[in-house]
Amino acid sequence: MTAHGHAEPTSFAFDDESNAAIEKIVARYPAGKQASAVIPLLYIVQRQMKRQTDSAWVPRVGMDAVAARLGMAPIRVYEVATFYFMFNTKPIGRFHLQVCGTTPCWLRGSDAVMKACKDAGHLSGYGDTSADGLFTMTEVECLGGCVNAPILQVDDDYYEDMDYESTVKLIEALKRGERPKPGSVIGRQTSAPVGGPTTLLDVAGE
């Protein structure tokens, strides 16, 4: 039994939803090159684990299932799964708080976002999972949303322009079971300047 009630499973089988997705993905690669599908398939394992156990992670038996499906040696799958930190090789909480700590986010206050996650989520630091099993926080490298820094990625969703207060608010909402709309929390349109667009205001025909 690992922490937070998620045991290392002894077996893993793709469910119908996963199988349907795998079929589509594998068909993208030429015959004999199925091993190229290893990364999307690991994502499928992670999503299926989320559906089934409410913890998005890739157990070892899941990697074995991918290896068997793609005709690879299991170690080749282990290598990929452990290389990319997008795959969680240990169970995580229901919400994966991924704080970007790369320079632009850090300059724009990612430390405050991290502190808010710690305070509101009752986490001791990066890598920790809260006692209630709701949150796991990790530090990630650049998420590519620098214009709207700092970014907090919750599972697959980006929350942008975060600060301490908005992070606490977000986490409280998650605790209540709500899922606030992803994107900029200060209401800016995509990556346009704060307060609205300043150029291309008079587009012909509009």
């Binding site: 290392e8 157990p59 070892r60 040696a73 299991p74 170690i75 080749r76 282990y78 290598e79 452990t82 290389f83």
Partner: protein, 681 residues
Amino acid sequence: MAKVTIDGIEVEVPNGASVLQACEAAGIEIPRFCYHERLSVAGNCRMCLVEVEKAPKPVASCAFPVADGMKVFTDTEMVRRARRGVMEFLLINHPLDCPICDQGGECDLQDQAMAYGGDKSRYKEEKRVVKDKYMGPLVKTIMTRCIQCTRCVRFSAEVAGTSELGGTNRGEHMEIGTYVEKALTSELSGNLIDICPVGALTSRPYAFVSRPWELRKADGIDVLDATGTNIRIDTRSGEVLRMLPRINEDVNEEWLADRGRFSFDGLKRKRLDRPWVRQGGKLVPATWQQAFDAIAAKFTAGAKLGALAGDLADVESTLALKELMANLGSSNLDCRTDGAAIDISRRDFYSFNTSIAGIDEADALLIIGSNPRTEAPVLNARIRKRVTAGGFPVGVVGPHGLDLTYGHDWLGEGGATLRALASGAHRFCEVLRNAKKPMLILGRNALTAADGATLLAVAWQIAAFNGMLKADWHGFNLLHRFGGQHGALDLGFVSGLPMAKMLSGGVDALWVLGADGLDLSAVPASTFVVVQGHHGDAAAARADVILPGAAYTEKDAAWVNTEGRVQLGYQAVHPPGEAREDWKVIRAASAVLGKPLPYDTLEALRARLVSAYPAFGHGDALPRFGCTDTTGPAGDISRLTDAALALPAGNYWQQDPISRASETMAECARTYAAPAALAAE
């Protein structure tokens, strides 16, 4: 071909060769860790940096292809500085534990640090530490020493064919290992120790045993399988401490199977170190004279005599025994102690005629009743290499579901399939007949079945029918199992009564040479049994006289491998106690028996060998030959039964008296018989 100038030396190398290969052609040694000529190129250690004219940066020579007219400099200030930088980075996380490291003295990193290492470290931060991994009873790991060259990863994936090692995690946290803790399942795992350039993978049985400069080295031949692997026997104070492969491109390349490498501790246990004579039903210690006198009393003129030569008998002593028996008036000889129905009327009926190197040329393979992976792991690696190169379909007749480390087409279990293959009715015949150089490998063990002789004839017929026997190509191969088997057949040690008759009272006195593992318990009490060998195994229990002989590490002797290659092994240590080289024992016995053999030295014996059997005069050269006479061995194909072909019984690690006496091999058998429960790290 491309003309390349290396440090002013002009060499011509094939297009596509790497700069490193060109440097070697010019006789310039390039330091390297990750590059290994028998593995794919990784290019990750960066130690082989050289300067190429017009290239702005130093280039990794192992991964840089040559171009015509290229000028390469291997000893400029830029190169030296670059290599020194690489070395400094490699040493950042490498522990300075050379004094307690088993690789010390034969470590690539240590040697190259002498040339490119700094005199002091500028690294003040904490070094990383990596937890050691469990890889089974043979390979010991000290993973903090690993420099992540990935040679072991590539070896296990490419040569051994058991992809079990990999690099997990990344960057600072990258570790080489199996991820899921398990013992390596390869029969070639000992080679990981050789290819590891540092002390990360070392020999577990050899841990803290000796330093390389304390060792005396002798060239030997591994006889525990029939590949005839060239080995180096390292000894100290009369004790064998380890075995390493020697390079022989035609036989073992540079690999050695685990049984051959690790079972030598069996040479120190259960040894016959003095003569024994049975008195009043019990074996009692005796002197050589008493033993010979006891033999002389039974090996008399009127008695019916017989002799057996076993799996581990060397050529010289087998010849001496044959000539002794001839002088005593007996022609009852048999060297097929496993009961294999081998026909010695022609050499190519029982040889690996294609030759091991010839596998590289073949373009289709049919395996009958053999699992080369466990019967000859190094030869199997050769097959795997050929399969990996492509265009080499492999069909298997034998047990279903063998893991040969390469893909194969399972054709059937036995008789019915073979009949179809011999008559052309089988779908695989199409594959074989379309091939230019098809070959088949027949496992010796298959011939031990009741219809062995028929099976041999059928296998030959399959070869003949499917175009394997041509004037310039011989595709019929018998895969023997031990180093003494082919040589005894070459000496014609098969005549008179067959073994079964000799064992069931057909002779009054029986001389058993080099067959320590042979079960003689069924021999009637009326038969007087002389057992000459080195291990107190099954045969010694039934002996009336035991003559202690020398194991393969303890004598100068010739061995013939499965392809008929005659190779000399040299004495590395003395036999224990009163044991003596086997030919000397037979020579001494011949004098007591009143029929002295006409040779007093090994040279004289070998001269006699060559004059009587000229095939032994060619040294270890092996001429390639085709097959012009396709008449097969005697046997009626219609009598072939449908019985499934059986593989040798027992596990890979314990197949002969030496490996059965070995603690290391016993531990392997325990480990692999009941694999520990798998657990993720």
